[in-house]
């Protein structure tokens, strides 16, 4: 599983949302959003897409994978 950096907190704050509100919108717990923001949890594709729709930002701008060998 690749390491990634998560920019979710930045976009969540721009949308004026708490972790609790975002979690309720995508159907997960606040703890899940907290771990996502710390890049301690690798979300499923569905969750990643749901989050990107809520914050209106493309998935690849929220979750930035490090050491992306496929592009080198």
């Amino acid at each position: 599983m690749g390491e990634f950096r998560c920019e979710l907190k930045k976009y969540r704050i721009l949308m004026n949302m708490t972790q609790e509100q975002l979690a309720a919108k995508v159907g997960v717990r606040r703890e899940t959003i907290m771990r996502l923001e710390k890049a301690q949890y690798n979300p499923s594709l569905k969750l990643a897409i749901d989050i990107s729709r809520v914050v209106s930002v493309p998935v690849e701008e929220i979750f930035i994978f490090l050491n992306n060998d496929i592009l080198s």
């Binding site: 309720a24 919108k25 995508v26 159907g27 997960v28 717990r29 703890e31 899940t32 771990r35 301690q40 949890y41 979300p43 499923s44 969750l47 749901d50 729709r53 809520v54």
Partner: protein
């Protein structure tokens, strides 16, 4: 987009004091009396009741939404607990089969195996909930 949050998507609610039933595992020692008196080995299985101590950990995770992270942590904790259980049971079976070559008393071997498997089962149940609690509470 808001997903339905049915009651079935939440972990069950129960009294964590059920964990005290774990002390019923001490009933396993009645096997010493039953074996000496009636040649009965069955009571040694009661050591498996130590598994009830797992309720203490499960009680700390009551009424939690079972989202994808919870399900993943649950699977990871089950895998880790079963791995420990299989290793222990494998070692005990190996030790017992090797001891069989040197011991004439099959009853003692059977008692050791029953105790080992019962305690192993209890350990797997406790470790399952302990690891789940640990994965859920990592900051």
């Amino acid at each position: 987009m808001k997903r339905e949050m049915n009651k079935s998507n939440y972990t069950k609610k129960f009294n964590p004091k059920l964990g005290w039933l774990g002390f019923c595992g001490l009933l396993g020692f009645t096997g010493l009396w039953s074996y000496s008196r009636y040649n009965m080995i069955f009571p040694f299985c009661f050591f498996a009741f130590f598994g009830f101590f797992a309720f203490f950990f499960e009680g700390k995770m009551q009424n939690v939404l079972k989202d994808e992270m919870y399900i993943e942590n649950e699977t990871k904790s089950q895998l880790k607990a079963y791995k420990v259980g299989f290793i222990i049971s494998g070692i005990m079976v190996f030790i017992c089969t090797q001891s069989y070559l040197y011991m004439n008393n099959n009853d003692i071997l059977l008692i050791i195996l029953v105790i080992a498997i019962s305690v192993d089962m209890a350990l797997v149940i406790i470790l399952n909930k302990f690891f789940l609690y640990k994965f859920e509470k990592i900051e």
